[in-house]
C-alpha cells in the first residue's frame, strides 16, 4: 500500500477541520507512512504530498501554521490528544507509542482562520496594553546599559522566553467569551519589564494597565497555565508577584489621595 512507511508501519491522524472563519467544523482521518523520528508536523507534511483521507477520498491538504520546528517560534501550537502544545515537539512515537490515532484540533480560545490555524493577534495587542517594552531614549549610541547581577539575569531570562504561543491562555479556565481577563502571558511580561533596571522606571504604568477590569484580579488560581507552558515559565509566581505589586500600588494610591 502506498501510504505505508518503513516496516509497513503507518500513522493514523484524525483532524478537526474548518474551511474558514465562522464555518462549521468537521472531522477527517488520514493514514500516512511512518518514519523514524517523526513528529506531528512531518505527518501533516505527508498529507500535503498525498492529500487523500483514510477512506480514499481526495481532499484539500490540512493547513496549519509552523515555522521554526524547534519550539522557539510558537507558531505550530495546537491541541493534540486533548492537550495544547507545539506540534513540532510532539513526536509520534511518544504520543502514539502503540499506534493510537493522533487527534489534532485547533486551539479553542482563539478564532479559527482555517483548519488548525487560529488568530492569536489578541495576545500581541495585549502586549501593547501592558506596555511590554523598555522606554528607550533612542537606538543611538548611549554607552553601556545598566549593570545587572547574575541573580537578576537568572530571574529575568526564563520569563523572557515566552514565545506568545497561547498555551497558557488555552489552558486557563478564566479565558472565555464571558471574561476579558488578559491572561498569564501578558502578566508575566509586566513582571519581566518591572524587573529591568530601566523598565522599572515605568513600573507604575504597567501595573495601572492590569489593575482594572480584565487585569490581574481575573486570575482564578487554577494554575493550569504553569502546567501548560512549554517553556516552564513560572507563570503562577509571575501573576502572584504582579498581584502583590498591584495591591501595594492600589493601597499607596489610596493613602496618597
Amino acid at each position: 500500500m502506498a501510504n505505508e512507511g518503513r516496516g509497513g508501519r503507518s500513522v493514523r491522524i484524525k483532524v478537526k477541520r474548518q474551511d474558514g472563519p465562522g464555518l462549521a467544523s468537521y472531522w477527517q482521518e488520514f493514514e500516512v507512512p511512518w518514519h523514524p523520528r517523526m513528529n506531528v508536523i512531518s505527518a501533516l507534511m505527508e498529507i500535503q504530498k498525498r492529500p487523500v483521507t483514510a477512506g480514499g477520498q481526495r481532499v484539500t491538504p490540512v493547513v496549519w501554521e509552523c515555522s521554526c520546528l524547534e519550539e522557539v517560534c510558537g507558531s505550530c501550537t495546537m491541541v493534540i490528544g486533548g492537550r495544547v502544545r507545539q506540534s513540532c515537539s510532539a513526536l509520534v512515537d511518544q504520543i502514539a507509542p502503540s499506534g493510537q490515532t493522533i487527534v489534532l484540533e485547533p486551539m479553542k480560545k482563539f478564532p479559527v482562520v482555517r483548519d488548525l490555524i487560529v488568530d492569536r493577534s489578541r495576545m500581541f495587542e495585549d502586549l501593547k496594553r501592558v506596555k511590554a517594552w523598555v522606554d528607550l531614549d533612542g537606538s543611538h549610541e548611549l554607552g553601556p546599559g545598566p549593570r545587572q547581577s547574575q541573580e537578576n539575569q537568572e530571574t529575568a531570562y526564563p520569563l523572557s522566553r515566552c514565545m506568545t504561543c497561547g498555551c497558557c491562555l488555552e489552558a486557563c479556565p478564566q479565558i472565555n467569551s464571558a471574561s476579558d481577563f488578559v491572561g498569564p502571558a501578558a502578566l508575566n511580561q509586566v513582571r519581566l519589564f518591572n524587573l529591568h533596571p530601566s523598565g522599572q522606571m515605568h513600573a507604575g504604568d504597567r501595573l495601572d494597565a492590569v489593575m482594572g477590569e480584565g487585569g490581574v484580579e481575573g486570575c482564578g488560581k487554577a494554575q493550569n497555565c504553569v502546567e501548560a507552558c512549554p517553556k516552564e515559565i513560572p507563570l503562577v509566581d509571575s501573576i502572584a508577584s504582579v498581584g502583590r505589586e498591584a495591591t501595594k500600588r492600589m493601597f499607596l494610591g489610596w493613602l496618597l489621595k
Binding site: 523520528r37 500535503q48 509552523c66 515555522s67 513526536l91 548611549l142
Partner: protein
C-alpha cells in the same frame, strides 16, 4: 521637476510611507531607524514578526568589547571576519560593522535583552568559531530569540506612536508603524524608469492581492535554506522575495556560497541546529577510533576516541570555522565511513559525537540549557550524560541580493549615504541574510545577528536620505501604475489556481531539495553539477504541470502559495548551482575537489548574476556579469566585481596555527587566550 513639497504628505494628502518587507532582526532594526528619522513605515511579514526565523539563532552576537582583558579589538574582529570569509567580503562594510558592534550590543542591553552577566554585573562573553577571543555576548542559548523580542517590543511601541506632519501636528488615525502580518511579498512595483515605487503583496488570510506604494522598499526577508529542503532554517525561508526581486532585475551576488553548519540533529522534517556555542563552552567533537566500535558513546574510553578537529587544527581545535569543520565531519562519515554505529541499521551512520558530558552541569545549565533542551526533546536522550550525535546541515546563505556601499576615506562607510545597502534597482534596499555584503565565502559564527542589526542601522538612514532627495514620491505616482502591477499579480495567481496537472508541488520540492542537498553543498564536482542543473531544468519543466492541491479562493490557501514559492526556489537553485559550476576554485564554503586551492588571480571577485527571462516556454537563464551599472537619484553608478581588499591583505588560511586569523593579535599562544576551561567566567 521640483522636489515634493512635503516629506510627510503626498499631494493628495496621503501619509508618505516606506515599505519594509520582513520582520526579523534586520527588518525590525530598519524600521526603528526609519521611525527615529521620522519616516512612517508599512511593515510586511509572512508570519507574525515575533515568529521570524531570527528566533532560531542560539549562540550569540559578536562584539569586541574586550571584557576579559584579552586584547581583543574591532580591528581584530575585522581581520578575523574577512580571513574566515576567505577574503571574498568587501572590507569597508565589514570594518564599519565590527567597529559598531560594541555599541550595538550595548543598545540591545539597554533594550532589556537578558544577556548573561559576569560577577561584576557586566556582559559576559564566550568563545565562538574562527577566533581565540571571548567575543560573543549571549542570552543563554536563545540569543536570537531574545534579540528579536527586544526589537519586536520597540517596534510595537512605535505602533502606538502617531505620525506627525511637517508642522508637528498629529495625523489622525496614522501610526508610525503599520504592521501587515501574514502577508506574502509577490513583486516590486517599478515605474517606466525602472524605479521601485512599492510592492504587490498577498493577504494570506483572504488571498486578496493588493499593491502598496512606498517611497522606498527594503527587503529584509532572510535566507533561502529551504531550497535545500531539510536544513536548520525555518520552513518560511524559501527565498521567495529575493527570487522575485531577482526576476524583476535585481542583481544576485555570490549565490553559490551556502554555509553548511557542522553540528545539527538529523531529523525527518528539519535538521535542528546545535549551536557552535556548545563548542565555544568546551564541547568536543570526536568519532570512535575503531571503525568497528559498537559501544554507545558514553562507554567508549578516552583512548578509543579520535578528536579529529583538535588533532588536525591544534590552533583553533573544535572552533575552526564552519566550512572547515563541516568538510572534516563529512570526510570522516562519507569518505572514511567512521560515523557512529547504529544498532537498528547495523552500520556506521553519518553522525559524529559532540560531547559536553565532561563539563559541569551547572555551567551547561546556565549557558546552554536552551540548545541542550532541543536535543533532549527531539532525540529523547540526555545530552548531559550521553554525547550528542550530530551531522552537518545547510544553515546560511552568504550570497544574496547585491547591495552597494559608499566607502569613506578612513576605510569605513559613509553613514547616511543612499548607496549603502542599495540594490541595483533604484529605490530597492536590502539588509540581513537576504543580501550578500558582510560574510564573504564563509560566515563566522555569531556574526549573523550582528550583520542583521548593522544592516538595519545602515539601511534606515540610507533610505531616509534617498527619500529626502528623490525627485518624486511614490504617493504622487498615478494609481494606474499600481493597478497594473496588482492586475499582473492577480492574473498570475489565478493561473496557479487553474493548474490541474499531475505533479505535486511538495513532492517536486522534495526532489529538487534532495539533489541540491546531496550534490551542491559540501563537495562540488563539475560533472555532478551538470546533473544538478539537468535536474533543476527537469523540475522546472514539471513544475509547470503541477496540479494545485487547493483551489480555495477568498480564504487562506497554502497550496497555491506553495506553488509560487516552489517556482521561485527553482530560480534560485539555478543561480546557486550555476554559480558553483562556474567558480573553478575552492574558497570558504565553496569546495571543489578538482580545484582544491583558492585562486585569487581569477576568482577574487564577486559573482554577479542577472536573470534572463524565458521566452516561448524555454527555461530561464542566468547572465553572469563583471559589473553592475545602476542609477541612483540621477547619478549613474558603475561598480565592478572586484572585491575591496584595501584593509586586510589576502593570504591563505591556516587554522592549524593559533592566532593565524589576525595579524593584529600578535601574542599567539598567550595563556589568556588558551581554550577556556569549562568553569572559566561566570
Amino acid at each position: 521637476m521640483a522636489a515634493p513639497q512635503s516629506l510627510t504628505r503626498s499631494e493628495s494628502g496621503k501619509v508618505r510611507r516606506v515599505v519594509v518587507v520582513g520582520g526579523g532582526l534586520a527588518g525590525l532594526m530598519t524600521v526603528i531607524k526609519l521611525c527615529e528619522a521620522g519616516v512612517p513605515v508599512d511593515l510586511f511579514s509572512l508570519v507574525p514578526v515575533k515568529r521570524s526565523h531570527s528566533v532560531c539563532a542560539q549562540g550569540g552576537i559578536n562584539a569586541s568589547v574586550n571584557t576579559k582583558g584579552e586584547g581583543d579589538s574591532p580591528q581584530v574582529h575585522l581581520e578575523e571576519t574577512v580571513y574566515g570569509g576567505d577574503f571574498l567580503a568587501n572590507q569597508p562594510p565589514v570594518k564599519s560593522m565590527c567597529d559598531a558592534a560594541p555599541s550595538i550590543v550595548f543598545m540591545l542591553d539597554r533594550m532589556g535583552v537578558p544577556f548573561n552577566r559576569t560577577a561584576e554585573g557586566l556582559l559576559d562573553f564566550r568563545r565562538f568559531g574562527g577566533t581565540l577571543f571571548h567575543r560573543t555576548a549571549f542570552a543563554g542559548a536563545t540569543t536570537g530569540q531574545q534579540l528579536l523580542y527586544a526589537l519586536d517590543e520597540q517596534v510595537r511601541r512605535w505602533e502606538t506612536v502617531d505620525v506627525e506632519d511637517d508642522k508637528g501636528e498629529r495625523v489622525p488615525g496614522e501610526k508610525m508603524v503599520r504592521k501587515l502580518e501574514w502577508w506574502d511579498f509577490l513583486a516590486l512595483v517599478r515605474d517606466d524608469e525602472g524605479i521601485c515605487r512599492g510592492i504587490v503583496a498577498q493577504d494570506l488570510k483572504t488571498m486578496a492581492i493588493e499593491a502598496f506604494p512606498g517611497d522606498a522598499v527594503c527587503l529584509a526577508t532572510g535566507g533561502c535554506g529551504i531550497v535545500f529542503g531539510r536544513s536548520t532554517n525555518s520552513v518560511i525561508n524559501t527565498g521567495t522575495a529575493a527570487s522575485a526581486a531577482y526576476q524583476q532585475g535585481a542583481c544576485y551576488a555570490n549565490g553559490e556560497f551556502i554555509q553548511v553548519h557542522p553540528t545539527a540533529i538529523p531529523g525527518a522534517d528539519k535538521l535542528r541546529l546545535i549551536s557552535e556555542s556548545v563548542r565555544g563552552e568546551g564541547g568536543r567533537v570526536w568519532v570512535p577510533r575503531d571503525l568497528k566500535e559498537r559501544r554507545s558513546g558514553r562507554d567508549v574510553p578516552e583512548s578509543g576516541r579520535d578528536y579529529f578537529l583538535e588533532d588536525k587544527y591544534p590552533g583553533y581545535g573544535n572552533l575552526v570555522p564552519r566550512d572547515i569543520a563541516s568538510r572534516e565531519l563529512f570526510k570522516k562519515c562519507f569518505h572514511e565511513q567512521r560515523g557512529v554505529y547504529n544498532a537498528a541499521s547495523g552500520k556506521n551512520e553519518n553522525e559524529v559525537y559532540l560531547d559536553v558530558t565532561h563539563l559541569p552541569r551547572e555551567v551547561l545549565h546556565k549557558k546552554l540549557a536552551g540548545v541542550l533542551e532541543i536535543y533532549e526533546k527531539f532525540v529523547g536522550e540526555d545530552p548531559y550524560v550521553n554525547p550528542m550525535r550530530v551531522f552537518p546541515a545547510v544553515h546560511y546563505s552568504m550570497g544574496g541580493l547585491w547591495v552597494d556601499f559608499e566607502r569613506a576615506q578612513n576605510g569605513s562607510l559613509v553613514m547616511g549615504s543612499p548607496r549603502n545597502q542599495a540594490t541595483s534597482i533604484p529605490g530597492l534596499y536590502a539588509c540581513g541574510e537576504v543580501e550578500y555584503q558582510y560574510h564573504g565565502a564563509n560566515r563566522l559564527g555569531a556574526n549573523s545577528l550582528l550583520s542583521c542589526l548593522w544592516g538595519g542601522i545602515v539601511t534606515g538612514p540610507a533610505i531616509a536620505a534617498y527619500r529626502k532627495n528623490a525627485r518624486r514620491s511614490a504617493f504622487d505616482m498615478p494609481s494606474s501604475l499600481f493597478d497594473r502591477a496588482q492586475r499582473r499579480e492577480q492574473k498570475k495567481f489565478e493561473a496557479v489556481l487553474a493548474m490541474d496537472g499531475d505533479e505535486n508541488a511538495y513532492a517536486l520540492h522534495e526532489e529538487l531539495a534532495q539533489t541540491m542537498l546531496v550534490d551542491c553543498t559540501i563537495e562540488r564536482h563539475n560533472a555532478t553539477l551538470e546533473r544538478v542543473l539537468a535536474k533543476i531544468e527537469e523540475v522546472d519543466e514539471r513544475s509547470r504541470r503541477v496540479g494545485v492541491t487547493d483551489t480555495a479562493t477568498g480564504k487562506m490557501n497554502q497550496g497555491a502559495q506553495f506553488v509560487r514559492h516552489l517556482r521561485n526556489m527553482i530560480v534560485l537553485a539555478r543561480v546557486i548551482a550555476l554559480g558553483a559550476k562556474s567558480r573553478d576554485e575552492s574558497r570558504g564554503a565553496h569546495f571543489k575537489p578538482e580545484f582544491t586551492l583558492r585562486d585569487d588571480a581569477n576568482w577574487l571577485r564577486t559573482t554577479l548574476a542577472f536573470h534572463v527571462g524565458s521566452a516561448n516556454g524555454s527555461p530561464d537563464a542566468v547572465r553572469f556579469a563583471r559589473q553592475v551599472d545602476y542609477s541612483l537619484l540621477g547619478a549613474s553608478l558603475h561598480v565592478t566585481d572586484a572585491v575591496d581588499v584595501s584593509l586586510v591583505r589576502p593570504r591563505p588560511r591556516k587554522y592549524e596555527t593559533a592566532g593565524a586569523a589576525s595579524a593584529s593579535a600578535k601574542e599567539t599562544g598567550d595563556a589568556s587566550r588558551a581554550p577556556p576551561k569549562a568553569t572559566a567566567s561566570s
